[in-house]
Chain length 193, copies 2
């Protein structure tokens, strides 16, 4: 349902960039297509010619953000010198770097909060991101030889998402807290398994 963010016309590129910034900072429902068109230096007609609807534009915004976030995590995993156990908590390191530039919390969580309609194309994109991270945690835990990789992955995902939420609401180092807790949970499994 979303467009491929890699194959966009120049106008569509500017539209998506402007929309991404506005959606994230002000909220999806609160931002109208008129504002996006004005901000990207493009007419509303072009916006609809390229994307067809606001819903598709929203889905494409999340799809591109998902691509970038996965690339960030992948890069963190490819850092040299990581032990198998270090790799399990690498997404928390990526998250620390990510949130330094994105202070309004998780775009996917925010989108899900704003778009309760189960049929909205953006919901599937957002849910996919969470599923991907859960599967990644499970794979990394299994590769580290940890027992009960599946339930551990669920626990790590909770810590991860919670850190994202808490960090955007309260002062303090929520991501540091979560990373520390993740290492403690992993250490407990490493001893017993």
């Amino acid at each position: 349902m979303p467009l491929d963010p890699q194959t966009l016309t120049p106008g569509a590129r500017r539209i998506l960039d402007a929309a991404a910034a506005l959606f994230y900072e002000l909220g999806i429902t609160a931002v109208g297509v008129d504002l996006i068109a004005e901000r990207s230096g493009v007419t509303k007609r072009t916006l609809y010619d390229r994307f067809g609807s606001k819903d598709v534009l929203v889905a494409t915004y999340l799809a591109e953000r998902d691509q970038r976030w996965r690339a960030e995590v992948t890069a963190a995993l490819e850092r040299p010198g990581l032990s198998a156990l270090d790799r399990v908590t690498a997404p928390f390191d990526a998250l620390a770097a990510w949130t330094a530039q994105h202070s309004r919390g998780c775009a996917f969580i925010n989108a899900l909060a704003e778009l309760p309609d189960g049929g909205h194309p953006a919901r599937e994109v957002a849910a996919d991101e969470k599923r991907w991270l859960l599967a990644l945690f499970e794979r990394l835990a299994a590769e580290a030889g940890l027992a009960d990789a599946a339930p551990l992955a669920g626990e790590l995902l909770c810590l991860h998402e919670g850190a994202l939420v808490v960090g955007s609401v309260l002062p303090g180092d929520a991501i540091g807290d979560a990373g520390r807790a993740a290492r403690a949970l992993i250490a407990a499994r490493a001893w017993s398994g």
Copy 2:
């Protein structure tokens, strides 16, 4: 800034009840005052006579939800036969019961996602709820004689909020996962401290 949800006229009561259901299910920005008035069997004039603005109505909605949630947690803490360690994870038990009736996630997180404007009266209500829970975790941990109660409380809050988010997005028992992780973190501290 919010009204006292305890001292409402009959009309205001119906308005708040209808608004709470609609805000939670459909989102705050997506719900207009006309719909709230119609749904509560009251004219829009009455809505504005009672609440003054939509923003105050939103803040009052969150304030009442906060009251009810705190009562739920307090009740869970007063169950007989709880050890001091059990009490630390009691909010996770309350959360399990709570989410059985509220499937659209955390009203406060959702509100913060939708209302980026720092001046919105509802933001302070939502942030207060998180601060209260963080302080509660710290108090319970200290009462259980656990070392480093403050950082532990931060970790537990991440697990708690993460469970709320993950549970509303993916299938599976996120709250069970988080509760198990919380007990593991506490056990690790109980041994060392």
